[in-house]
Symmetry: C2
Subunit: 388 residues, 2 copies
């Protein structure tokens, strides 16, 4: 097991009507908040009104910044930073999913420095940040209890991330009812995203991680089992609750301690969504299947352990048969929840593969990605060809 240092201070406030705790939690920090949100779905569902009423009754002053889009951008963050500085805002409330939360974290870190916030995405170390709170509406990215923020700089379309203990949200209000209105496709993309966060951690060559392996396999199995059930009954409170919790645990860091994680599929997928704006979860379903087909021979026992467990495949079959059957079952699962499994389904033609692979390793200190198997540009080309 690798040495590690782990902490996660985010308070999860989970359940029906958990929004009522908002004023109490916010008032620990400030009486004036920047309310940060996305495209307006929270106004359609009534969540916006509910929050505004709660804050108003507690005499909390609200300054709004809506309009965050999927793959949040630097220009919006810069606007948020300007507002915080000019209007002396000391707390940011993110209402939405990963994009809104990542944008809020960027504002929180940028509001306390004079230099451009993009410096943090290029390696500058964060030493403080405004407190951020979350009302989660999309279970997927896990940003509600993570120290990570992903942002896109429009100039050059650079997508980069940074992590810092200072940007853990102080709290995450997690009311499963607030996810009832998610379209099926977005629910499925969320399932794929959280599953990917578990896969990226599960696939390691670290040998003595039985305890976290078993936790991860349990987590993966539950998403495999519950995901299709949820899509058949999207207004079921308990299924929504299970998936909401799974999304948070998938990425709060607790399941990945003591091991070198992989993350090459995420890196490759970023190029797909950069190319044609495919949803992150939909890109991940394609990439993970191809990645598994390409790398499984390098540590096949890691695959057979997983597949016999999550798909109850007969362990007396040969390793190769188990892996083939397991990947095929996973492909069926993605199809069952309505996600693409091939590049052709998302209009990524063979002719762009070389340039996507090049961009994927571009600008990195080493032209290699992946903790489970090191992948060079040629490997990424091969994986994308498998995905055709």
């Amino acid at each position: 097991m690798q040495n590690f240092s782990y902490f996660n201070p985010t308070r999860l406030i989970f359940g029906k009507d958990s929004e009522v705790r908002l004023p109490e939690e916010i008032l620990k920090y400030s009486k004036r908040v920047l309310l940060h949100y996305g495209g307006g779905s929270i106004k359609r569902t009534g969540l916006y009104d509910k929050i505004m009423k709660l804050l108003s009754e507690a005499n909390i002053e609200v300054i709004e910044l809506g309009g965050v889009k999927p793959n949040p951008v630097l220009s919006m963050v810069e606007e948020g930073i300007r507002i915080c500085k000019e209007q002396n805002v000391k707390f940011i409330l993110a209402v939405g999913g990963g994009s809104v939360i990542d944008s809020a974290k960027a504002i929180a870190a940028g509001a306390l420095v004079e230099h451009n916030v993009w410096d943090f995405y290029q390696g500058k170390v964060v030493t403080d940040a405004l407190p951020v709170g979350v009302v989660l509406t999309i279970p997927a990215a896990g940003s509600e209890a993570s120290p990570w923020s992903v942002l896109t700089k429009e100039d050059g379309m650079l997508k980069r991330s940074f992590g810092s203990g200072y940007i853990f949200p102080k709290f995450a209000i997690m009311n499963p009812v607030n996810t009832f209105s998610l379209p099926d496709y977005q629910t499925s993309c969320g399932l794929s995203d959280m599953l990917a966060h578990m896969f990226e951690r599960y696939f390691t060559n670290e040998k003595n991680v039985v305890f976290t392996d078993y936790l991860l396999m349990g987590a993966i199995k539950s998403v495999i089992e519950l995901g299709p059930k949820l899509l058949k009954d999207t207004q079921d409170y308990d299924l929504r609750a299970e998936i909401m919790l799974a999304g948070t645990y998938a990425h709060n860091g607790s399941l990945g301690v003591g091991r070198i994680e992989d993350w090459s599929s995420h890196a490759i997928e970023h190029e797909l969504s950069g190319y044609n704006d495919v949803a992150h979860g939909a890109g991940l379903s394609i990439v993970f299947l191809a990645w598994m087909r390409y790398v499984n021979k390098d540590n096949i026992k890691k695959f057979t352990q997983l597949f016999t467990q999550i798909f109850s495949i007969d362990p007396s079959m040969s390793d190769e048969e188990i892996v083939l059957m397991g990947i095929n079952k996973l492909e069926e699962w993605y199809k069952e929840i309505g996600l693409p499994t091939r590049l052709s389904e998302i209009d990524v033609p063979e002719k762009v593969i070389d340039s996507l692979a090049k961009k994927c390793v571009h600008d990195r200190p080493n032209p290699v990605i992946g903790g489970f198997k090191e992948l060079y540009e040629s490997d990424i080309i091969n994986i994308l060809k498998v995905a055709l």
Copy 2:
């Protein structure tokens, strides 16, 4: 799923030589610490010298209070509180296992109030506490990352607990090497204790907790598999590491969210260790087997799910057969790691059962224990008779 509010801010600093981080972590809070420890094993192993050297080199002043015994007592805590108040100590470093940590937490809470610290164990709410840090040497109780403290008041031999977010340790230094010197019996008792913390959470009648059920079953399975391996090779770093991590996760609260936990076996066991000072983990092995035999019919599917998973029992057998086989396999497991499974092995005679059961429900607001199955005095008598 039940509504819940969960957070856990303790920083886990895990791995070889992780003690070197001590000065940096302590100096965030104070340059003067109360060093709290147990019976002197840390002096035999060299850990004491190592810590003293690190603190001395960082010019951290150390005031010592050693001698904490298993089942820590109020009088020692009162002495610690007096030292902290008189000598203006602002940080407590607990070096040891659950008893030392629980004692340190009590001192931390008591040092900031004028009334007796025992009031907190009788329901008074903690509103502040000195910061506590931990160097863990016994993986068992999980106190290194929990908000709980258990203490015994010698007058009346009352054993009580309280929980507060203020007493989460700030950090826990977890170096598996520091557990190499544990005697086998203590290692086994630790395994039983962490397994019990998982069982107490697993056994719930809450229906929609698939995600945490799967995490818990993974955690339980790993202790069942790794425990006997560790006892065959107690100087294996990675096995010690796995078990050390399992002990922390078993009781850090993350696996029990959203469910009503049981805890009746712990309540019953407290009476056993109160009666004849049997080690907590050894009492738990006896009580859990008897509890399982007594209550399984009330929600048998919860048992069959667990046993088919952790012992790979053929799920096509009848529920009753699975449960019988599962409990027998668990009994074999306890025996394999050298723990008692019957009251006769720890000199608790049948004639004292009535008085133990009475004491177990005594002084409670309702004369009932257990979240999975409500147990009255008569049930506790029956369970202890099953354990004879």
